[in-house]
Symmetry: D3
Subunit: 294 residues, 6 copies
């Protein structure tokens, strides 16, 4: 370890901020953000963090002002910067999935596909990506930068269509918009500049952070499940457990009974528990995990 | 599974909202509420959720506008609706216990029991239940609907008594009120309409939700407890463990030592730990649980 | 147990409040704070809690108005009260470490050490401690009580130096201050009055609370770590595990494989996981703990 | 004046509160509202004020708990209380006009008039007035009390129609509702109980308050207008001034010029000023008024 | 005028801030306060303003860090500083009158006068003034500095009495306290250091500010009143007008009628208007004033 | 008047919104903005208002979506749109003056003029105007769009310079920036599209709005001043009154005395009043104005 070495890490200010800090905490890095300060404090002396907007992150990483940063694939594309993708992180603002930038028009509009946009006016915060998308479809349209409130603009008669971010779709529904197409599906990215990636100490540090972050994200979708099973049901129970990690089987203090402990997808628990009860499992207990490294 | 089937589920807007969404999350259902939208998004395609006030929930479930919903027993009684009680859920706004609607008067009032209310004036949000309560006690009094700030009304001289919700009693104390009687003890309820309950697919779906919710609620009151025990103390330690689930006993890497792992009531931990230490248990570790299905 | 006995416990209102209540919850005591009330409700009938400022806590404990309370060592010193230290609790407002009161001056000031403060003007909320500190260094300076916004005063030209609280240092950085010296390193304290400490029932109650609180705090820094290990790697893996608690080794359902489960320092996880992967551990899972009693 | 006499005056808590206090201030009564207190302090020793909801005001005035109060005509009707109308005050929450309770349905609903509501479901906060309105039209429908968010209920499919308050109509527009009919046009009222009205001292006090309040409200719609006019244009200018108060004509320091000063409707200023300029008025100055008593 | 000369003016941060800035605006000085900045911008190049707490103002003025400042008499006394009183300004936080520091105890306490405080415990923010007050009454009691929430301390059993600020008394009423005595009646003060007062340019600048501030404050309590009066009533009307400024009498455009315009105390308007109406005045109009310099 | 004619007016959402609505109110147009609605209601049936960002206003006016709108000259330049300037309005967000976009660098930077920016990196929200400015100075530099927090970027090391809005300069001071040059001085503009300007009815309507708005703005800087003067001093007093409007001189009820009433610049009042007092004026009264049309 070289004590003087520092990794300059950009953290996304704004909508991704809270979920990013939470994920780093689970990965083992405590980040303290003081109000009014752009320098969060990380409990790792080798990391120097800076809070900047996700939109601007690729620019400052590419320029070498930062070694690396967390941002969305959407903004990497929009800035069209040459950066290294250290790893993809499957979390976003509200959900654990990617965000979508969709092409949307008023529900009662007769625009049905991207082809109908010829000569129309489109508002978006993602101007370059939208222009490239239109070019790929051989459509000519005015794409204008929107300073906010994009979703109300079609109803106000200001534009014909928008390209806007959506996670759950409910804001589109509120503004009576229908989705015509996906323009960009974007996951959170951990990116590095080329020069920092060439520095072995920095690359190794980034890879460790990535390993732990992925472990934390993976753990979000997993749970531990324990249950009591009598020896006569053990085989059946083990056969329906889709374990990533092989189940542990340990004897209970009561003879003939075993504790089965395993790690499974949180998503399937709601279907699995009724089946386990039928197969004879008892005392089923689910517990949360901080990190899962397969 | 019939992919086109949908269960219309009402979630309580307001004071119960946060604890309900937290409980569904532990039960395995992620609910995303967008500001300004009444349609929360649930990560289960078979559920269509709607946010409405707990006060109005029984009315819309009874009318069949919703298949089922989460509300309080108090509002089921107040609306006097004919609904099916799928299951009782022991959580409320602030604590894990039920809420109480109490009859309260000023500390220095000479009203001592419900009998002293003859001819008096009572403010409450729970008008029908209060009238029924008075009728049961053969007392005639004016019951008026209170639009809020009920607890300050006796001190302002506007009414003689109130029937008001209390969880911890501290708001009553602040307003110098004394409790005369309990009018209604209310737990959170998962209710269904009769017609939805007759639909087997819907009933099965509701029963699965209820099973998982109960598991999540039960887990709130339980913890996992692990400890290292030498073989010579094992019997004594096992004898004082009031396990719901039989304890697991597994050998440690050090010879003669065992790991004892069990699930117990969180409430008794504070008394149990000193005893365990005396019996020779070491390295006691407590961990939280997501779900417990006995 | 004497049911009529009550322990009067002071909880710190303000910046320490949230972390204290969280720690008591992990220790097994649920505390409900109602807005506008100074009497939090604790789910232990033997405890009567009161919310007061940490600054004033030592004064009211020493005077016997309260049996015991949670405050900082800084305020015990400032009030110069004769109280019993039941135990030290290593948590503070934002981080898990102690807080520091530092002597700070403007970055471009030519004050380099406490000696340069002779005849200068110092603003602080911690007047008595600061005066004692100066006396120990044989420095004569004006120490004035600051009613807030202490950190901006040097830049406004109002004072030459300040003695101010810092946890992460970022607020000092924002105001372009440099730290000259530590005046007081302060941990959170659980204090008692002498008379309450002499009462055996009260002392026993306080010691139980202290045991559980320490268990909860200790658990903050620990995590559980489980992994699958083949018998051929078991020895190597066990040799690099710095377990506080001896690891549990239990057979998996797949022959030749074992589950290794242990409790370690959260701090070392980020270095340990890469090593474990190299030694042949698989399916590494980290989980959080509520209490750890060694 | 009897110094011991007090007039108990109810002020409306909530949406009317701010505009009411502002109007009393212009009328010459300063009212200080402390957070958390229901007793505003009035700088008139003969008045004792109490803050309660406008909805409940008629009830407590009719019952004699208060001598008089400010509320809306809507709530007088809803409570169906026998009170004295001291005077009508033309101000409301946002505008200076009355508020309207309108019957509204979804824009694409085929309900076109009150007659189409037979057998339908209507949500409102104004249940009694709505029932009376339906009865007058010989329509039978379910009227249910709405606990809030009334305007979103038709779109959620919970009810067929609503009766809701509107001042500017923009909230209805946002929720895609169309107005079918006016159910109640309501102005702010100053009401008294019969017994207080019979007390001559109280009646006189209420009449003075009413006189000053009306003066303050009247002043909201008036402005003072001054201008310089040469003697040759004086007649023409005076002829187009629609003065409530006869204009003052005073000589300026420059010979042949006059100052014309008058009080007119604020509404017509925007049309009048261009005309005055054409007629030769110069240096036109508009100023605000506190009270106008015709 | 010396363009390079600057007057360093301290403005009170916190509860007096808003009313002070409003008063300076009326006096003709626009003060712009940016969030996060301690340097308000004044549209007078000769003034350099600084925002600091009223409690600390006398200290920094006496030390010459500031030339002058706005604070309360209470804090001048508490700091016991030797400053020049430029002028007294009759406005405070909420009302236009002075603030009072009162000695208060619980309503049901048997402490009836300051004499009963012997050996008791008193909490206050105004420690030095309170000690002097007790000394004047030959009473020995513990006076402790209160860090806030002073008014709830008697009810919590922490102290026997408090010395606390009150403007309208409603916060005392809420906490069931009764007032025993006035400890300090305090008006807002414009203070200067002795050395700045000796500088003729600075003294002149301060006196101009004081003249304009007093004009603005005086205007708060005055209004302009105009009315139409027929010549036959003119004498009677003039006889009941208690004008500070002699009334202007100007002819109206209608023969025989006059406009009477005068400046009177706002306080008497509510009694005067009914009398004027009886005397034959018509079209009475009240208007507000920015400054009144008698 | 053609009742069906409508003028589509864009009002600036955001920082200019409050001051714009206040100015329209003084001009005689009441604008009601409902939360969540983009359609403010104006009490003039000929106006249909829409709230959109000032940045986007020129674009939508130029495109004819709106007839006219209020925005800043800065955004007219940035959008480089061909619009008609109806009139200039001298008010801005905080002060009554124009806003400045300044080129700023860190205080300790060695960049001293625009010439030193060659090859540097500049962040701004006003990209096009900044590029034009650099071109005029023959400087080549990277101009990047800033998504916010522009002022902290130089200190974070992200850019070398910024072009940023300033009204009072205090935010620049807080971030230790020095101003190198003015890039754009911008006043608020009332703009129209060419086609709407050609429509006589619309042009006339816009000119009336402009006349009244200018009257309201002008009144911000003026006050009315009245005083009592004895005939012997009248000439001297009149000679020092710099009246826009010739002063009115009217006799008082006391013989030999006159009332002098005039309109003057608010800015000079603070110097004028001491002079007037010396010249013998008494009972000086200042009052505010709503509109001044010279």
């Amino acid at each position: 370890m070289k004590p003087n070495k520092k990794l300059k890490l950009g953290l996304p200010k704004g909508s991704l901020q809270e979920s990013t800090i939470k994920m780093f905490k689970k990965a083992g890095f405590n980040i303290y953000v003081s109000e009014r300060s752009y320098y969060p404090v990380v409990d790792d002396e080798q990391i120097e963090a800076l809070l900047i907007r996700a939109q601007e992150m690729p620019r400052y990483v590419a320029a070498g002002v930062l070694d690396c940063g967390i941002t969305g694939q959407d903004w990497v594309n929009e800035n069209d910067c040459d950066v290294v993708q250290v790893c993809e992180l499957t979390y976003s603002k509200a959900t654990s999935g990617p965000v979508r930038w969709v092409l949307a028009v008023l529900k009662d509009s007769n625009i049905e596909s991207v082809k109908d946009l010829e000569g129309k006016r489109i508002a978006t915060e993602l101007v370059q990506v939208t222009k490239k998308y239109l070019k790929n479809h051989n459509v000519h349209a005015d794409v204008e930068f929107s300073w906010g409130a994009t979703e109300v603009k079609p109803a106000l008669g200001l534009v014909d269509a928008i390209v806007e971010l959506t996670e759950t779709g409910s804001s589109l529904r509120t503004n009576r918009l229908k989705i015509i197409d996906n323009v960009c599906i974007s996951k959170t990215q951990f990116i590095s500049s080329h020069s920092s990636w060439s520095d072995l100490w920095k690359r190794n540090k980034m890879q460790t952070i990535a390993l732990l972050l992925r472990g934390a994200i993976f753990a979000e979708e997993k749970v531990g499940l324990k249950m009591n099973v009598h020896s006569k049901n053990l085989k059946k129970v083990l056969s329906i457990l889709p374990a990533m990690k092989k189940p542990t089987v340990a004897p209970l203090s009561t003879k003939g009974w075993y504790d089965v402990d395993t790690i499974i997808d949180e998503k399937i628990v709601r279907d699995l528990i009724p089946k386990l009860l039928k197969t004879g499992a008892e005392g089923i207990v689910e517990y949360a995990l901080n990190k899962v490294i397969p």
